[in-house]
Symmetry: none
Subunit: 217 residues, 2 copies
């Protein structure tokens, strides 16, 4: 009897999770052991449950997939994570590889591709679309690492969360409510964000963040 491949799903869209779970359940040998709505939930669940494969959405509020991947691999280095992305933007691709993901699948590709990715990664290989990989190598060789947004600006986990919420029009009090912290703390994060990015105000900060792919649009 073959061992089941256990899978965890991390995505903020419940409908997408439901769908993915349903698709995977129909494939022989796959078993979805958990779903997480956010990166934070995911890290929480990892304490108890360690799946063979994690399918990780990149764009999520609160904690994005890149950071969640980094954090998870810090604590569980042997975890195998496959990134799911809506965009073929090379920057996410690059960042996800750098974070330690073993695979990358575009959401616009079908379940066959996903199944293949899971099997490959489960068997100890990588799974990265050839065209994206080629593109990435070309980019790096031609434009250097600066093009990959390897600037010295590194936002902390909390700062990224705050930034995400600033982008969607939240005030300090609203952000405070959502992150269960004081508005004053949010204000401090905001100030630090402006300082780190060398921007003048929230509008400028949002522009900078989008341009430099600190957040997904």
């Amino acid at each position: 009897m073959n061992r089941l491949i256990t899978i965890g799903i991390v995505d903020d869209h419940a409908i997408f999770r439901d769908g993915l779970k349903s698709v995977l359940s129909q494939i022989d040998g796959f078993y979805v052991v958990f779903e997480a709505m956010t990166g934070i939930d995911f890290l929480e669940i990892l304490r108890d449950t360690k799946p063979d494969i994690v399918l990780m959405d990149i764009s999520m509020p609160e904690m994005d997939g890149i950071r969640a991947t980094e954090k998870a691999l810090e604590r569980h280095p042997h975890l195998k994570i496959i990134a799911l992305s809506s965009y073929s933007d090379h920057i996410y691709y690059y960042k996800m590889i750098k974070a330690g993901a073993e695979g990358f699948v575009l959401k616009k590709s079908g379940k066959e591709e996903l199944e293949k990715a899971i099997m490959e990664v489960y068997n100890g290989n990588n799974f990265f679309p050839q065209d994206l990989l080629k593109n990435l190598i070309f980019k790096i060789s031609h434009e250097g690492r600066e093009a990959m947004n390897e600037s010295d600006i590194v936002l902390s986990k909390r700062e990224t969360e705050v930034l995400q919420l600033i982008c969607t029009g939240n005030t300090n009090s609203e952000i405070a409510d959502k992150l269960f912290i004081s508005p004053k703390t949010v204000d401090n994060h905001r100030t630090n964000l402006l300082q780190k990015t060398n921007t003048k105000n929230a509008a400028h900060l949002v522009m900078f963040a989008i341009k430099n792919h600190l957040i997904e649009v």
Copy 2:
């Protein structure tokens, strides 16, 4: 024997379509009769196949869900379309209602919500999330229908200039100096921009403007 409810799915993400189809297939009485990758494909398919319900993603390349909905209803007025959206962004919601959608479901809500939406719409009712609807009604009752009728956002030349300068971190006084007008005028433009785009503050405005290609990134 009950008649099957036939469903069409329009979304550019194959994995999402696969998942959705799988979820819906497990619900008794639902039958997915087609999937379309783009709005154009969808209109093509409609010539031959008319489902009871269409699940329509809003953000798609080539032809977005709003335009696809409009076009489809022009030719097939009795078609029942439910919008699927990642964002609770007010403008999509409004545009989709205006385009003639009978329902609106956020992707972050679960399959139960989706099932409910399909059943309601199939039975001749609408399905719109209460909080979003309340928000919209509030807006209309306070600002009049004129504010809403102008749903296709067109910025004036001056507004675009001001917006551009807001994005690069300029304050009202700085913008005033650069455009040789009073800071108070800039303030008015700013207020109008927020109103037109229905955004909450400058940061949100910048995000919206970039998302909707009102400015160059």
